[in-house]
Symmetry: C2
C-alpha cells in the first residue's frame, strides 16, 4: 500500500447478472485525517459474502442498497492507527462495516472492538465468531429448532455458514445431510466435519440421494440456495418440518423473474413452517452465540476453513467465487498485514 | 329417497382438471343393517369444501386419497335412525366424515354427537361451528397471531372460511382487507360483515388496490388461494409478517406443475413466517373455538351465509362452484329433510 493514500472500490453501476469488475471504480485518494471523536482504521481482512449481491441491487431488502458512487459495503477486521476517540485507541482491533477500502474513517458507530487474545487467528472473527457462526447458530437453533434424532438437511453445506450449521446439528444430535458442489467438498464435510452424508448436486441425482440418505424424511432444512434443491426437499419434507430461508444464492444473479418452488403446496399439506432469517435481527443476542461457538471451537467440536484472496484489488472478481462455488471455505480478502504490534 | 335403498356417489376415476360428474359412479344399493355396536345415520346436510379436490388426487397429503370405487369422502350432518350402539341413540344428531351418500353405517369412529338445542339451524354446524369456523379461528389466531392495529389481508374473503377470518380479525382490532371475486361479494364483506375494504380481483388491479388499502403494509395474510394474489401480497409484506397457508384453491385443478410465488425472496428479506395450516391438527382444541364462535354468533359479532344445493345427485356438479366462485356462502348439499323429531 502506498503511504498516505487510501484505496477504494466504489460502486459504479448496478450489476446485471454476475458482478463484473467494471461495475466498480478503483479510487485512490488522500488518507482522511480523523477529527474530534474520530479514528482511522487500517483494514486487514475483508469478508466477501453472498449477501453482497443483494446490497448492490436496487430492490427492497433488509438494508438500503449501496448508492452509486459510494464505497462498496463490506464487513472487515482492522486495527486503529490514529485516534481522537475516547474508546477506540491506537492498536485496538475492530470489526464492522468498514467497506471495500484500505482505510476507514469512523466515529465508532456500528463497530465493535475485538479482544487481541484468546483467538488463534484474526480470521476466526470473519470465519466463525462474528457473523458466519452466529448466523448458523441462531438460524438453526432459534428458527429451525432441531430436536435430537431429527434429520437436518443443509444446502451450500461446505460454505461458510452451511458448514457450521451442519456441525451444530451434529452437536445437537441430528442426522445431518449436506448438499455441496464438488466431491472434495463432500469429502470434507463428511470425513472432517462429521456430517452423516453428503450429496454432490452437480453430479448426483439430488432427490434420489436425499431419499436414500433421509430414510425418515426431512425435519429441518437450512436453505442457503433456494431453487431446484428447495423443490426437491419439499417433496420429502415431514409434517411440521421447519425450513430456514437463510439464502437464495441460486437466484441472486438471475436476470429474469425466478419462480418459487413448484412444490409450494407441500407447505400446506405437511403444515411446514418456512421462515426467513437475517442475522441482523439477532445482534442483541450475539453473546449467546459467541459463548457457545467459542467453547465448541476450543473443544474441537467445530472447525472452519478460510479461503484467502490477496489484495483489495481482487475483491470484485473474487466475489463471483461465491456463486460458482470455487471458493473452499469462508472467502476473505487480505487487504493488509495481519501482524499488529 | 326410496325406502330401504341407499344412494351413493363413488369415486370412479381421478379427475383431471375440474371435477366431472363422470368421475363418479351413482350407486343404489340395499340399506345396510347395523350389527352389534353399529348404527345407521340418515344424512341431512353434506358439506362441499375446496379440500375435496385434494382428496381425489393421488398425491401425498395430510390424508390418504379416496380410493377408486370408494364412497366419496365428505363431512356431513345426520340423524341416527337405527342403532345397536350404546352411545349413539336413535334421534341423536351426529357429524363427521359420513360421505357422499344418503345413509351411512357407523361404529361411531370419528363421529361426534351434536346438541339439538341452542343452535338456530342445523346448517350452523357446517357453516360455522364444526370445521369452517375453527379453521378460521385457529388458522388466524394460532398461526397468524394478529395484533391490534395490524393489517390483515384475506383471500377468498367471501368464502366460508375467509368471511369468518375477516370477522375475527375485526373482533381482534385489525384493519381487514378482503379479496373476493364479485362486486356483490365485496359489498357483502364490507357492508354486512364490516371489513374495512374489499378488492374484486376479477375487475380490479390487485396490487394497486392492496397498496391503496394497506397504507402500512401487510402484517398477516390468510391465504386460501395461492397463485398471483400471494405474489402480489409478497411485494407489500411487512418485516416479521405471517402468512397462513390454509388453501391454494387457484391451483387445485391445475393439470401442469404450478410455480411457487415469484417473490419468494421476500420471505427472506422481510423475515416472513409462512406456515401451512390444516384444521385436523386442532381437533383436540376444538372446544376453545366453539366457545368463542358460539358466543360471537349470539352477540351478533359473527355472521355466516349458506348456499344450499338440493339433492345428493347434484353434488359432483356443485363442487365446481367452489372453483369458479359462483357459490355465495358455505356450499352445502341438502340430502334429506332437516326436520328431525
Amino acid at each position: 500500500m502506498k503511504a498516505n493514500v487510501n484505496q477504494q472500490w466504489r460502486l459504479a453501476s448496478r450489476p446485471v447478472g454476475l458482478i463484473k469488475e467494471s461495475d466498480f471504480e478503483w479510487r485512490e485518494e488522500a488518507l482522511p485525517v480523523p477529527g474530534d471523536g474520530e479514528f482511522l482504521v487500517r483494514i486487514i481482512y475483508l469478508s466477501l459474502d453472498p449477501a453482497i449481491r443483494g446490497w448492490v441491487t436496487d430492490a427492497k431488502s433488509y438494508m438500503p442498497p449501496v448508492a452509486l458512487g459510494e464505497v462498496m459495503r463490506g464487513i472487515g477486521v482492522g486495527v486503529v492507527e490514529r485516534s481522537n476517540h475516547a474508546k477506540f485507541k491506537v492498536g485496538n482491533l475492530v470489526q464492522g462495516l468498514l467497506g471495500w477500502q484500505a482505510y476507514a474513517l469512523s466515529d465508532g458507530m456500528g463497530l465493535v472492538r475485538l479482544p487481541k487474545d484468546g483467538v488463534p487467528d484474526l480470521t476466526a472473527y470473519l470465519g466463525l465468531l462474528s457473523m458466519v457462526g452466529p448466523t448458523a447458530y441462531f438460524g438453526l437453533l432459534d428458527v429451525g429448532k432441531p430436536k435430537t434424532g431429527e434429520t437436518l438437511v443443509v444446502s451450500a453445506a461446505a460454505g461458510a455458514v452451511g458448514s457450521i450449521v451442519g456441525q451444530i446439528g451434529k452437536i445437537k444430535g441430528c442426522r445431518v445431510v449436506g448438499i455441496a458442489g464438488s466431491d472434495e467438498k463432500c469429502r470434507w464435510i463428511t470425513e472432517t466435519l462429521g456430517f452423516d452424508a453428503a450429496i454432490n448436486y452437480k453430479t448426483e441425482h439430488v432427490r434420489g440421494q436425499l431419499k436414500a440418505h433421509c430414510p425418515n424424511g426431512i425435519d429441518v432444512y437450512f436453505d442457503n440456495v433456494g431453487g431446484a434443491i428447495l423443490d426437491n426437499v419439499l417433496t420429502l419434507i415431514n409434517v411440521k418440518a421447519r425450513i430456514v430461508v437463510c439464502g437464495l444464492i441460486s437466484q441472486y444473479n438471475a436476470e429474469e423473474p425466478v419462480p418459487g418452488p413448484y412444490h409450494f403446496s407441500s407447505i400446506l399439506t405437511q403444515r411446514v413452517r418456512v421462515q426467513g432469517f437475517v442475522f441482523g435481527d439477532y445482534l442483541d443476542r450475539i453473546k449467546e452465540a459467541v459463548a457457545d461457538l467459542g467453547k465448541w471451537l476450543v473443544q474441537g467440536k467445530i472447525q472452519y476453513r478460510v479461503h484467502l484472496v490477496e489484495g483489495l484489488k481482487a475483491a470484485p472478481q473474487a466475489v463471483n467465487m461465491l456463486f460458482d462455488g470455487s471458493n473452499k471455505g469462508k472467502l476473505i480478502v487480505k487487504v493488509s498485514d495481519p501482524n499488529v504490534s
